[in-house]
Subunit: 362 residues, 2 copies
């Protein structure tokens, strides 16, 4: 068979193959990245959301863009993901920006401002309220760019050994709670504690720790805290949603072919809805099992909520005077939040509240 | 320069180029599809969500997979999208499955079962509660496969010329409301009307129509109904969320290279969060303007909600006896809904309700 006949039989035009091959080779090269998560494998929806993301990117790029995922501690500790990305030790990571509030309090807005917004409002603010662009002003200082990735939905307030009657019961309470929320808690009398994950259960059991917070029913159930601290408080006012980001080294991002940049952006939002859906699905069933197992659901007393809100608002006012980027983000989020919570009780709240009441009677 | 030296200088191995080019050519061919939407361009978040989707797919595939979008009526009327996809006249469409409830009542579950679930619960059921697979059992009968695409969030109950004091005021009310919801409405005394979009405003103005429903503040504001029917009722109990699907001709889907299938799936979920975020952002501000413009917000009277819920539940019981696929979907959704609405008031509702109350006092 002559060359021209062979190409014709194979269904490949000479001109097309000559033109197309270099263009494709340039736009879809083989790229291998390392991806470090702040999540242990046991947080199967957050770590699982990273696995889902990696799989999607591979499918989208015909396996040309291969991202290898590492759990917390495999390359760097979970709280040092941003540092590893900034230094270029890994190309990207999945993390909660508020872990780095010590570097800049404005990082808080990337995950959850206490008494901030719920998960859908967070996505709305990120996409349409300039939130993503403002957060990237913060991350640019750390040689990084971020994309909204996973969300937990509203979290629980955590596990308490004793029932809380009022604000006075918070006084002197030793609670395992980290970061920015711990700072607010300390203003209402709590003594925040830093304990490694494995030390929490025995400390609660012995009574050297009075309370701890983690995520919500699905993740909390596996840790068994309900056996040693049965009062399960809500809501986690410091996390109306828990937003994670894919953080990428800026130089590495800029080197990436456009289709791979699109794959990261699109797969990040795909995994956003994957993760929150998985929480929404499995939290519901886990809560039922926890209650059967002896957990006692309690709302925080009204004066605890009120005092915490006031403490948080005072802290934000102070930070707004000393940190211009914090002020910029706070003003932006607060402006949307005001309108958003006028609208929320109408169609959404109206529908949900009817269904909640009606199904109780069913 | 000899051939081998040229290739070396260009950084291309002979073996690699010989192997890679055909594989890439096969996996990333040029593909052109036609995509017809049920949405007019004026529904800028639904039509815009289709534009966003098309742009994402182009970016992901380096413009090799080109999808051309048509608004409702440009190729086929908005309510005939499924028919056009089934016949292969277009490769795909964006539509609301419940438009086709006349073909099979089980289609209703693809968009919103009246008194069903909210948007996040819908996504959770679709992804983790087997919902997507069950809906595809319905669509397979129409030579199609569907992927969750856009969502409006909970919709409003619509515009009424007169205030509703109780269930009795629904009797004989001429309301522009379509499909399955119209059937339920007729059980509580309403006389459902079918009017083309442009005829609604003058009919409300003349009083030959008493009420109409559309979407929510952002879309409704543009149509100006508040000027002729100022009572704005909530919630739209027939649409706790409005879920749209990308519906694809099954034979065309099966021909598609795997990376393009992944692009459709991933960009569909990306546009899901894009659209609901856009509604969540713009509805909030639009509601404020509508109220300033004279719209009067009212919740449906309790006995209207209760009677409508009972009418809906009776209809579902009847359909479950005659339509096995309806029963299968209803049992699946209802089982998740029960758990979901036990969990919803805890962390999510607890957070939202505190914020709603607290910001009112701010």
């Amino acid at each position: 068979m002559k060359r021209r006949e062979f190409l014709k039989a194979a269904g490949v035009g000479v001109a097309a193959s000559a033109v197309a091959a270099p263009a494709i080779a340039q736009s879809m090269p083989e790229v291998k990245w390392r991806y470090t998560a702040s999540w242990p494998k046991s947080l199967d929806t957050l770590y699982g959301g990273c696995e889902f993301f990696v799989k999607r990117v591979a499918e989208l790029t015909d396996n040309k863009f291969q991202i290898t995922l590492f759990a917390a501690g495999e390359i760097v500790p979970g709280l040092q993901v941003l540092d590893a990305v900034q230094a270029g030790n890994v190309e990207m990571g999945s993390t909660a920006m508020y872990y780095y509030w010590g570097k800049d309090a404005a990082m808080t807005f990337g995950t959850a401002l206490p008494f901030g917004v719920n998960a859908r409002q967070m996505a709305a603010w990120l996409r349409f309220g300039n939130g993503e662009a403002l957060l990237n002003e913060v991350l640019a200082k750390y040689n990084s760019i971020g994309f909204a990735h996973l969300n937990t939905g509203a979290q629980m307030g955590g596990w308490f050994r004793k029932e809380l009657k009022n604000l006075g019961d918070m006084s002197g309470l030793k609670m395992r709670i980290g970061g920015f929320a711990g700072t607010i808690m300390s203003k209402v009398g709590v003594v925040p504690q830093q304990l490694a994950g494995g030390d929490i259960y025995p400390a609660l059991e012995k009574g050297t720790l009075d309370a701890c917070e983690w995520v919500g029913p699905h993740d909390d159930e596996k840790l068994g805290y309900y056996k040693v601290a049965k009062y399960y408080y809500y809501p986690g006012w410091w996390e109306g949603c828990g937003q994670a980001h894919n953080i990428i080294n800026l130089a590495k991002w800029n080197e990436l072919p456009k289709p791979y940049q699109a794959a990261i952006q699109t797969a990040s939002w795909d995994s956003w809805s994957w993760a929150i859906s998985r929480y929404d699905y499995y939290n519901a069933a886990a809560l039922k099992r926890l209650i059967s197992g002896g957990a006692i659901l309690r709302p925080f007393p009204a004066d605890v909520m009120e005092a915490s809100y006031k403490a948080a608002t005072d802290i934000y006012a102070g930070l707004s005077q000393t940190n211009p980027l914090f002020k910029k983000l706070y003003d932006s989020l607060r402006s949307y939040r005001g309108d958003a919570y006028l609208w929320w009780p109408v169609a959404e709240g109206g529908f949900d509240n009817f269904m909640i009441q009606r199904l109780r009677r069913a």
